[in-house]
């Protein structure tokens, strides 16, 4: 008995020692590969990890300092996410660099904590929208596009399809949304736009996880909408596309949001999904150097995290790679200022705030054309990148529009008003320094 105990203890000590090797940037990865949203979460986590592996294999880390990471399973539950956050935040040589929760409810649960712990939070295309006002939320970065900006691009796209924004007047738009923090986040901006452009708007909430939507779509059909905005996540999306077809709403009248825009949503829906359009902050297609590099340095070395066929061909995987790019680029920026040593959260925050993805930089990273150019500043934690719409042709997504810019004249005042309300509630003095 004592022998077994001593073996176990020595094993524990051995692993404790091996974990704390000196000199690494520590990237905490909070992923969800199980639970109702695991199908969507797993490829994203694979992409994130693969990109970090590729950077270590190709460049030997960032600034000569290797990247280290640890994954923690959240199952998309806020309480488990908080546990993971607390578990990982002090690991590594300089603490956690940056957290990316990949969930709006998850984001909300740590917004106060990241400010107290001085660890930045990147929420790429999701999260708390008014955190785009960096003067009130210095530690939170809804990079590229937030939900409200996305929504304005979507209405613009519908306007373009109709032949001008003035044609929106009198249209009926149904908003089928996931009944959660994530789904409800766009309601105010949609209302504001309905007022501005004079279209009619009706919301149809779908309860988590969204497997049963028969009644919802009967109501949608009764409403006779001209367009349906689909704002789902996980298994809700494919069910919605199937039910829409059953309710005789043609797929090309559906406009999905960024998180309803994956092969995981269209393939299971089969023929019903052909013609389905959705928005994305990345371009469809796999012909980008970054994926070749991942295949060459990670998969050819038999070190891939997921399946080889995912790489570059799976929307959530691409989002995961993009998450990796953001993290690594932020660390790179930070090392340029603070030198080649393990970066702390505070230093990485500076890096994120000075991110500048211009054409030259995108080319260097092997992602030119994959994402649009954008730039972060202290006041603007979003960057306001434009949106690409893509259509499902039965086998793959193809571009359905040019890059459509977001309408910051609608979004920004709403964000500032909302952030000011939060600042008042919390007693924060907004500042940019």
């Amino acid at each position: 008995m004592f022998k077994i105990i001593s073996i176990i203890t020595s094993l524990f000590i051995f692993f404790l020692v091996t974990i704390s090797i000196a000199g690494e940037h520590f990237v905490p990865i909070t992923s969800y590969r199980t639970g109702p949203y695991g199908v969507s979460g797993a490829p994203a986590a694979n992409g994130y990890v693969d990109y970090l592996k590729m950077i270590n294999a190709r460049d030997g880390g960032v600034g000569g300092v290797e990247l280290a990471w640890e994954e923690c399973e959240t199952a998309y539950k806020p309480d488990r996410f908080v546990e993971c956050y607390e578990r990982l935040k002090n690991k590594g040589d300089a603490g956690a660099t940056v957290f990316q929760p990949l969930g709006t409810g998850l984001t909300y649960s740590v917004i106060d904590r990241v400010a107290a712990d001085e660890i930045p939070l990147i929420t790429l295309g999701y999260g708390r929208t008014d955190a785009s006002d960096g003067s009130v939320f210095p530690w939170v970065f809804p990079l590229m596009v937030n939900y409200w900006s996305l929504s304005t691009a979507k209405i613009k796209y519908i306007g373009e399809k109709e032949g001008g924004m003035d044609k929106l007047k009198g249209l009926k738009i149904a908003n089928v949304y996931h009944d959660s923090a994530y789904g409800k986040e766009t309601l105010p901006v949609l209302r504001a736009q309905a007022e501005k452009y004079g279209f009619e708007l009706e919301g149809f909430p779908v309860a988590h996880p969204g497997l049963d939507q028969k009644a919802t779509w009967l109501n949608v059909r009764r409403y006779k909408p001209d367009y349906v905005i689909l704002r789902g996540w996980g298994v809700m999306n494919q069910t919605a596309i199937k039910e829409a077809s059953r309710a005789r709403i043609p797929a090309n009248k559906l406009v999905g949001v960024v998180w309803s825009c994956s092969e995981l949503d269209t393939i299971p829906a089969g023929k019903a999904a052909i013609g389905y359009t959705c928005s994305s902050f990345i371009n469809p297609g796999a012909n980008y150097k970054v994926f070749d590099d991942i295949l060459k340095h990670v998969y050819d070395a038999d070190n891939g995290t997921g399946a080889r066929k995912e790489v570059g061909h799976q929307q959530n995987y691409k989002v995961g790679v993009l998450m990796g790019i953001m993290t690594v680029e932020a660390i790179t920026k930070a090392t340029e200022k603070y030198g080649n040593k393990p970066m702390s959260g505070k230093e990485v925050r500076w890096g994120i705030e000075n991110l500048d993805f211009d054409d030259a930089r995108l080319k260097e990273l092997g992602i030119d054309g994959f994402i649009p150019t954008f730039k972060i500043s202290c006041a603007d934690h979003e960057g306001g990148a434009p949106i690409k719409f893509q259509r499902w042709n039965g086998n793959a997504f193809e571009p359905a529009s040019d890059w459509i810019s977001t309408d910051q004249s609608i979004v920004r005042p709403l964000i500032e008003a909302s952030a000011a309300g939060y600042a008042k509630e919390k007693g924060i003095t907004s500042s940019c320094n």
């Binding site: 199980t34 923690c72 578990r87 708390r128 309601l187």
Partner: protein, 355 residues
């Protein structure tokens, strides 16, 4: 030998009716409180305090609440999470509408609101029993979650339906460090546990148990069923509401109605089933089992395997091992961990000469 009552004579009714009549129990209780109040704060790090001990204590309180209703009074409820939600949202709303109110008062208000709602949804218990009552309380679960999701007033018109707890100040001190949060939750939970223990051995508690064992007989000996059952619902929901307020204010800081979904209700029901129905320690043991074991398994899994096995596999192994543990304990001791503890005490009483 270690645990023996021989020589402990009770010379007054007071001594006989003491909350812990046996000397060793008193010592054990004092030791436990010492550990909780002194040893843990000295040795535990922030990770332990914030993500293990505080959630454990907060959910223990909910389990305690459900144990009053199900364990002592015999009324099955599947609406625990809903009552927690009422507590959380009532406390939040009081503080938002009347900012001068101290947070402890808001917690109590949350508890009382929850008690009111609990009594309301407990009314069917006067007519229906068993599984049918469980289904009736299920209505509370769905209705309340729906209510908080769809009426923006309750979330103070937050765009996403998420409420953020205002800062907690007590006597000019802001409670935000892990240690102060731990102490806050610990104080509340210890007080509630003693209250429940006392209530259980009072006239009310005996009436609850009489109703649980056979309500017709209880009525025949003069127990007012309506009063007894509704009181059980009220007390139970009060504790659950308090626990919900702690969950929102102390554990997470921000909370959406979905944090109190049906899965949470089941989780708490499992806690008392595994921990032991009708005992205070059962609530704590069950909460420990349901909260600590998955996290422990997950931590051990990632510690032992390092990067060799994906987190997905570890998560699945966690579910499997956890499920196996549940089945194991239910087979070995259907009356819960508290019963195991009791058996252990009886064994100790005879040791080293068992017969």
């Amino acid at each position: 030998m270690i645990y023996r009552e021989a020589g402990q004579f009770k010379t007054s009714y007071k001594a006989d009716q003491a909350i812990l009549p046996i000397f060793q129990d008193k010592v054990a209780m004092v030791l436990m409180l010492l550990v909780a109040f002194v040893v843990i704060p000295i040795f535990a790090n922030d990770y332990w305090l914030t993500s293990i001990l505080v959630p454990f204590l907060a959910l223990s309180l909910a389990a305690l609440g459900l144990n009053v209703l199900t364990g002592y009074a015999g009324q099955i409820s599947l609406g625990t999470a809903a009552f927690m939600a009422v507590g959380a949202f009532a406390a939040f709303n009081l503080q938002v509408r009347v900012p001068e109110v101290p947070f402890l008062v808001a917690f109590l208000w949350g508890g009382f609101c929850s008690a009111g709602v609990g009594i309301l949804f407990g009314l069917p218990s006067l007519r229906i029993k068993g599984f049918y009552l469980a289904v009736a309380t299920l209505a509370a679960q769905f209705f309340i979650e729906w209510l908080f999701t769809h009426f923006d007033w309750f979330t103070n018109y937050s765009t996403s339906g998420v409420i953020t707890a205002p800062p907690m100040t007590l006597l000019g001190m802001v409670i935000e460090s892990p240690l102060s949060k731990y102490f806050l939750v610990l104080f509340i939970v210890v007080i509630c546990a003693f209250l429940v223990r006392n209530l259980a051995r009072s006239e009310i508690g005996r009436a609850w148990m009489a109703v649980r064992d056979m309500d017709i007989a209880a009525e025949a000996i003069g127990i007012n069923l309506m009063k007894t059952k509704l009181l059980a619902f009220g007390v139970s929901s009060f504790l659950c509401g308090l626990s919900g307020a702690l969950w929102a204010y102390v554990v997470l800081g921000t909370v959406e109605p979905q944090a109190f979904d049906i899965a949470r209700s089941f989780e708490i029901l499992f806690m008392i089933v595994i921990g032991g129905l009708g005992s205070v320690s059962g609530a704590f043991l069950g909460a420990g089992f349901m909260i600590l074991l998955p996290i422990l398994l997950n931590n051990i899994g990632s510690l032992i395997t390092g990067d060799a096995i994906s987190t997905e596999t570890i998560a699945h192994i966690e579910y499997m091992v956890f499920g196996a543990f549940i089945i194991f304990f239910l087979i070995v001791e259907p009356n819960g961990l508290a019963r195991l503890w009791q058996l252990g005490k009886e064994k100790l009483r005879l040791w080293p000469f068992p017969y």
